[in-house]
């Protein structure tokens, strides 16, 4: 079983979908147990994986260090003189994926628990939710870019329906906007993947074919390509194996992305354009300014559980893509563009914080605060030091938990009164004390109070960014991390202001709100919310739990990046 642990983790929810097809129940609420059970199983598997994972170095050129790896040939397409297109089913895990897998299982489980109150077409809802549970871990584990793209795209389908059918008032608009926006990004990514397909070759696979021909080694193949002998040979295998792609030797020297290529478009090389396209594609997902406008609408209109999943993990896939794919494949271009990337990061942090300050809808405010926190990830990436990138990954993990908590809390209020407007409430602490306590904890966690995971992430990013800024190469200027600290002040401002307006003071509500609906949180809600808060505090006080596992991978990533640029 251990050999196929990753596949089981990914495809378990499909069994759940199958099960759902055969269950018939008059009470629609019984379907939720399928999702809860399946996501709980996925959570157990992820925890097992987390505990059993030994923090080896992930070496970008070798398959040896991938402990849980599954590789199988999927299909091949011979294209005559253009070679053979090969796609593999390739899964692997390293520190970065590990943290994201753990996060996704926690958040998906929380989302499943939060979906407990869906009554309208519950079977369809849970089936779609379980499909989501398939594609998200798949995205994090895939090491073949074709497979990655498959899972990446596949997420959009359930999200579209989940938002579009079970969402709020403007759900159709929000779901189409979300879908088309991210699809546009995916198109850019696809274009780059195609370019990668045709400008690289996979010597390892070619080895398997010529193994019978004794005497041939990978070196021979590589020399053959580089000397121009083997071009336009029908036996050249192209694939999107990420490990092979990170090795610059595997690029055709005269191909589109090769070193001898002098083709330019508006003054930028093809490599630079590919980098920009990939960057934009993933930045749309992250989201970063100016590609973020799909997020507020999608979040506000989505049902609670879907918001939890959207903010908790879907955003992280953008960050994951940047760290896993973009930076290792285009290190030189990334290093050259780091000033711009840092700028995008700082602008995202501040811009989103400014907008959050003037929101009157609680959910929209939290949505913008999500955008702001993702800006920190971009800043950490721009710095590309070990602390910076570790901070970025920690921020993704921590923010996943915190925003899950925040959206669950908004859901608590919305489920009761269907009104999320901040000015409509005052002094809620008198009526809903337990709820207010958790809201206070969540708000303080999100603004980066030490003792919670957000602080560790942010301080690591700041330290990393400033170290980069004062180092000899100085990819980003010193003012960027310093100006970014204002983001901390702004988060404190909008959160505490909301706390003061909505929760403290004398209790009163707007005339449209029925006070009797404001009941305090129930035991089941308390369990979920306190567990999430507990996790946030746990990872804030004992960061080594996560960092022991992901630290070496992040250090290896940085060393690889520095050596390649």
């Amino acid at each position: 079983m251990a050999a196929h642990l990753l596949s089981i983790l990914i495809f378990l929810p499909l069994l759940g979908v199958l099960g759902l097809l055969f269950i018939k129940s008059d009470d629609h609420r019984n379907y939720r147990w399928v999702s809860i059970l399946v996501t709980a199983l996925q959570l157990c598997l992820s925890i097992y994986l987390f505990v059993a994972f030994k923090p080896e170095y992930f070496q970008f050129h070798s398959y040896d260090s991938l402990v849980y790896m599954e590789k199988a040939n999927w299909f091949q397409l011979p294209l005559g003189n253009l070679g053979i297109l090969s796609v593999n089913y390739f899964l692997g895990i390293d520190g970065l994926s590990l943290s994201m897998i753990l996060l996704s299982s926690i958040v998906l489980f929380a989302g499943a628990c939060a979906s407990a109150n869906i009554t309208k077409q519950a079977k369809g809802y849970h089936a779609l939710y379980l499909l989501l549970c398939v594609s998200i871990p798949g995205c994090f584990l895939a090491l073949d870019l074709f497979l990655f793209f498959l899972f990446f795209e596949f997420m959009l389908l359930p999200m579209f329906f989940l938002i579009g059918i079970w969402g709020g008032v403007r759900r159709e608009y929000a779901s189409i906007k979300f879908f088309l926006y991210t699809l546009f990004g995916s198109i850019l990514i696809l274009i780059v993947f195609i370019v990668l397909f045709i400008s690289t070759y996979n010597p390892a696979e070619m080895m398997e074919y010529v193994a019978s021909n004794a005497g041939y080694t990978m070196q021979n193949i590589q020399e053959g390509i580089h000397s121009g002998e083997l071009i336009n040979n029908p036996s050249i295998i192209h694939s999107l194996d990420l490990i092979q792609l990170s090795n610059p030797v595997n690029y055709f020297p005269n191909g589109l992305l090769g070193e001898h290529n002098t083709l330019t478009l508006f003054g930028y090389s093809i490599r630079a354009w590919c980098f920009i396209a990939l960057l934009v594609g993933f930045l749309i997902k992250l989201p970063a300014f100016p590609f973020h406008t799909w997020l507020p609408d999608a979040h506000v209109e989505a049902p609670t559980a879907v918001s939890v999943v959207l903010a908790g993990i879907l955003l992280k896939i953008g960050g994951y893509g940047l760290i896993r794919i973009v930076w290792p494949l285009f290190p030189q271009e990334a290093a050259d563009a780091s000033w711009w990337i840092g700028l995008i990061g700082v602008v995202t942090i501040l811009y989103a914080a400014f907008v959050a300050l003037v929101q009157t809808d609680l959910k929209k405010m939290i949505a913008y605060s999500s955008v702001s926190h993702m800006g920190f990830v971009v800043l950490g990436l721009a710095a590309a030091t070990t602390e910076g990138i570790t901070g970025a990954v920690y921020q993704m993990f921590s923010h996943g938990l915190i925003s899950a908590l925040l959206f669950l809390l908004v859901g608590v209020l919305y489920d009761r009164t269907h009104d999320r407007m901040i000015p409509n409430y005052r002094g809620l602490i008198s009526k809903m004390p337990a709820y207010s306590v958790i809201v206070t904890i969540a708000f303080f966690a999100s603004l980066g109070l030490p003792g919670m995971s957000g602080f560790i992430a942010e301080i690591l990013i700041f330290i990393g960014a400033f170290q980069a800024a004062t180092s000899a190469t100085a990819p980003i200027p010193t003012w960027m991390p310093i100006v970014a600290t204002l983001g901390l002040l702004l988060s404190a401002a909008y959160y505490l202001w909301t706390l003061q307006r909505m929760f403290f003071g004398k209790f009163s509500t707007h005339i449209t709100v029925d006070r009797n609906l404001l009941t305090d949180i129930t035991l089941s809600e308390k369990v979920l919310l306190y567990t999430l808060s507990g996790l946030i505090v746990l990872f804030g006080l004992f960061p080594s739990i996560l960092l022991n596992k992901i630290g070496p991978s992040m250090q290896a990533w940085t060393e690889f990046f520095i050596s390649m640029k």
Partner: protein
Amino acid sequence: MNELIPHIEVPLIPADSISMLALSIFFMPIITFMILFFTGKHILASIRSWLATGVMGAMFVLSLYLHISIEGEHLSRWVWFEIGTIKFTTSMLLNSYSTTMMVIATFVSLMVHLYSVEYMRERRNHSKYFPYLALFVSSMLGIILSDNLLITFIFWELVGLASFLLIGFWYEKDTSAAAAKKAFLYNKFADLAFVIAIMILSAVYGTTEISIIKEQLNGSVALQASFIGLPLFAGLAIWFATVGKSAQFPLYVWLPDAMAGPTPISALLHAATMVAAGVFLLLKTSFLLLDWVPNLITITGCITALLAALQAMRTFDSKKVLAFSTVSQLGYMMMAVGVGANDAAFFHLATHAFFKACLFLSVGAVIHSMHHMQSHQFDHGQYKELDTLDMRLMGGFRKKMPITFVAYVLSYAALIGLPFFSGFLSKDAILGALYDWATVSGGWSWLVVTSAFITVALTAFYMTRQMILIFFGEFRLLKTDISYKKYFDHITESSWLINVPLLVLGGLSFWFFFSWNPFHAQTGWWMKGAFVSPAHHEFHLFIPAVASLFTFSAIAIAVKKYKAVDMFLDTRQSLTRLFARNYYIEKGIKLLFIRPVFIISNMCMATDGFINRAIHGKAYFFIVIAQLADVFDRWVIDGLVHFVSGFIRFIGSFFRSYLKGNIQGYFYFTLIAFALMLLWLGWYL
């Protein structure tokens, strides 16, 4: 890794038994917090109070033992977390100076706990009071013990959290909620500087361990010469963080508002310990205060001391007078730090902790009885608004609450700096240090000295004013509302739970607790030479003489002015307004920061709307193209198809038309066919 400096080794040091003791003292309030926060509502209020107080008492005893038995320095360091090979460490430093601070903090906390048992009895939200207090105490101890700036920062923010929760303790009051938010935000702004300091030090030294940085900075001369820029900014940034926490001008405005919290909290946090944490931090990192930074600190401290004292002179809120006084005395401590007189600053920190806490607690006792009077009225159906803090409504409490009065007078004497009291010694130390500094620096520094002396007079004035207004004369509330008379007549002394802390703290205002010599002290004897400065301070007789002269004349003026006052005419309204509005600092901040921020926010939101409209525009563009394609599809392509089918139909109908039963038609066709056949036959044959 950074190429500026070669990798600096950060050795790990395991904790010895003394350090383990300190650690256990640190963990005790955390356990209290965990127990009381989660089970608080389910256990009796008295159990809650006494559990917390008992633990606090144990902590004090252990801290005292630690302080007595410590020899030299104990530093321990261990790893908090690592990223691959990069280690983030946390460390704890125990020396006579941190143990002294521990004793002070635990002692004042113990007194406040005892006081709170009675003061907070039967108040709303009681179940959260002692847990929050425990959270505060542990975070404060964290600041005292930590020798790593990152860890200090963590506890620094946590005391900010505790302060937020405790200021806003009575959350139903709008003033409390607003004050809590204000306190946190002003402190957060200053804390950004702390983050920047951590960033700078991490980049330059690769670590935030204070001992290591100190070694590096003092050791390498070459380092200082070429890299003074960054360490200087780090020191400046750390100072700026204390401008927020230790309420220096212009960020001190949160402190007067923080008086909305319960009085024991004002005594503990906003007088004795939390606000002093900034001074403490600067004393620890004084090696980073380079070049022109100390002068900046002194000037700011001077301005703070003076302006706050002026404000105290015209305010009628009893707690706010003490708040301004705290700000002013913090200014004194900062002035001492700025001139390098670390021992004087720490000395004043210690004496101030005791007498200011006593002042707050005694004024609190008076407020408590005013509150009782109000609730008695409520019990009899009279719901009257009463500002229990307003000094204009008080008076004559000397006879009714003599013990409170005695405690107040003792600490008042210490604050003013009357001879034979502790404050006299510590203030004299600071003034002496300022004088010594001015003789060396000359020029503008004499302005600072003058201002410090003037502030001494002002301090005497406003404190005497407060004393007279609260404790002397008649109970002025009776003038506006005679129905209070019966309750006032029944006021007795508070319970022992309130009086014992008052008297103990008041008693600590005497000189002998700090020095056997009532007129001059090098440093307190029980403080174990904490921060004995290298320079031996000469004793200038004229300094205490001049200071006492100022003090006594100010007292005389105040007595003359307020002894027989019964009406409070505001003769200089604009001045009063200036002081009441904190020199319009908040208005300035609103104009310079808050309004621009909201303008930017609205601009950003408009930008978002613009981006959305651009996307919609793009969508409409595609819809237009789609419509055009549709038209093309329907009219052109489909049209072609229709045309072709129509043509064929036309041909068909043309041919079909001759099969409709028209005999002439049939005949016509037969004739043509016959003719064609003949032609064909003829042509062939």
